[in-house]
Point group: C2
Chain length 386, copies 2
Amino acid sequence: MTQFCDGSVPAVTNTRDAEYPRVNPDGSVTFRLDAATAQTVAVQPGGGDNGLGVGPYPMQRDDEGLWTVTIPPAVPGFHYYWLLVDGVAVNDPNSLTYFGYNRPTSGIWVPEKDVDWYGPLDVPHGVVRCQWYRSDVTGKWRQIRVYTPPDYDTSGDRRYPVLYLQHGSGEDQTGWTTQGRADLILDNLIAKGQCEPLIMVNECGYAEPPGQEPLARPSFAGQPNEAAMAAYMVERAKRLDTGFGAVVVQDLIPFIDANYRTIADRDHRAMAGLSMGGFQTLQITMTNLDLFAYIGAFSGGPWGAIDLDTLYDGAMADAVAFNERVKLLWMGAGTAEARQLSRLETIQDALLERGIAHVAFISQGTAHEWLTWMRHLHDFAPRLFR
Amino acid sequence: MTQFCDGSVPAVTNTRDAEYPRVNPDGSVTFRLDAATAQTVAVQPGGGDNGLGVGPYPMQRDDEGLWTVTIPPAVPGFHYYWLLVDGVAVNDPNSLTYFGYNRPTSGIWVPEKDVDWYGPLDVPHGVVRCQWYRSDVTGKWRQIRVYTPPDYDTSGDRRYPVLYLQHGSGEDQTGWTTQGRADLILDNLIAKGQCEPLIMVNECGYAEPPGQEPLARPSFAGQPNEAAMAAYMVERAKRLDTGFGAVVVQDLIPFIDANYRTIADRDHRAMAGLSMGGFQTLQITMTNLDLFAYIGAFSGGPWGAIDLDTLYDGAMADAVAFNERVKLLWMGAGTAEARQLSRLETIQDALLERGIAHVAFISQGTAHEWLTWMRHLHDFAPRLFR
């Protein structure tokens, strides 16, 4: 991997030895594709404006068939993108792929300057376990990822609290430990004594009972259809109690408590999630407060009007009782995601009026993307189990 | 996922809910791409003839911009492929990606009939751990995958033998537990009592000492350049002792023995690998027989002429001594990979003439691809540590 004289470096999200895309010192990014037979090539950022700008950015062809473009300085963080080859959205062969948009998708990491809280540092590291388990709810084997803290294998009979942490729409159980670097964030917090050693579990937030067809998803394209996605989310909510919610309560928690050295009570169990995962988290935890005492919604929450008397079967109707029972209700957004920021303010107004204790966290300068949620985890995790 | 009236089913290697590619009852495969703006689209199998035939297979466009082709019945197993969109090799957005050809690459699984030894079955499952560890040889953090058998977390102080199992050229530490389903193969063998419960370690076979630039690899294209790849392999061999070989001996084995409940002696340590990984395995084990007693080369071995008096510093020069020391020397190939089959015969002739005990295994009908190596593991693993 080469640093050029101009100070540019290959992105850490590149494939082995790929020199492009390169991140330039000013945060601009240079993309390149070897495609002599293509008529047009462009860079298409994921999701409207995810920090790479809106695009598409047409690339220029040189005499040897190399197409190149440098796009304006990007917001730091992880950004999904595609290349449009003669108008067809495809992954960049120079990028590793990350599960988003319901499929492996190119991504680029634009680093923040002078920040190392998500690096692989010289500290003790936990382990991320990829594990099959049987779900009675779906009648199928499912794959989860389980982070165990650095001392898990050497601490004898010591038992640990558990954080169930969920991805967003179109992603899966791999998101938090690839795009989100959650294992490294926790390693670093634990090494500094800023976070209780904990077990983190990442499931895949899609689940159907036997015989139920998966919901038809909005069709895939360079620019996702926001209205269709919203309608899809509403329909998902209706199915949550018998789908993924049932998997968490009936299959996942019992499996984790049976197979890991957990402290298997509500005071040592947290759930959080980003975007769709935040939406799921609030619905699952609020309707199962006998199971969870710590709740986090990262850029995600209830859709529609907020009526605390009826929302989640009235879980928050009695503020005094709720505040006594729930040790942490944490919500966040980024300043560059207008819709989620506005939703957060609406919810917060309702909570303040009712007197519901909560933490609200705003990530400066970041949009509906992973750096927002990494910062959320970095603030949320130290508040757990203390 | 829908079975159509024609009996076709979506490939298990597809992304979530993708209906194409579909495997038909006769083993032929139907590919489809939504690409209204493309001028030509074709299916390009990986690596010349990997079981999908040589290709490329031009796809036909319908009025709505869907491109489709059905290719002839394929050899069962896992096959890499790309789509050529106006001549540019890209991944199929309907396929999951698998690390091969030095990057995430589309792959399709064409199932064998009436075979379940690599399925997720209703048996106890082990865990695949993704783990960071620090390499002194490279001066960098590296990521490994470690399979622990189903009873590992509940067996108290029980200690286990270790199999170090390596991927092929252009792949990485994820290959054996994604493309290769090694965890499921071992789960199933262990459940039947046909294999000793063991720990399996998968490293990434690329490593350079600090300051050494990675070898320039043959350029990527739909059809890889075989001659350039061969020259590249020869150069890699020269660097093995100070590169990946040093990582295994100086960094990896000590890390595993310090962090897992291993039986840390040569009689309980095996190494095997496929293709480039077999080539590496033979060189690393034969020159470190104080560390390894079980050796497997899956479709990979020494290049050039075979002279047992000098090969691997003469490790096999004295057959009696070698046979006493090495408990298993196992080599395999597939009938549809002519070059490796011929190499295997050459080596076997030399071993037979010298009187070196060994096992040779031929996979019927399979080429230089994963089903060959999955069958190799399925035969190899039960012979270990007994």
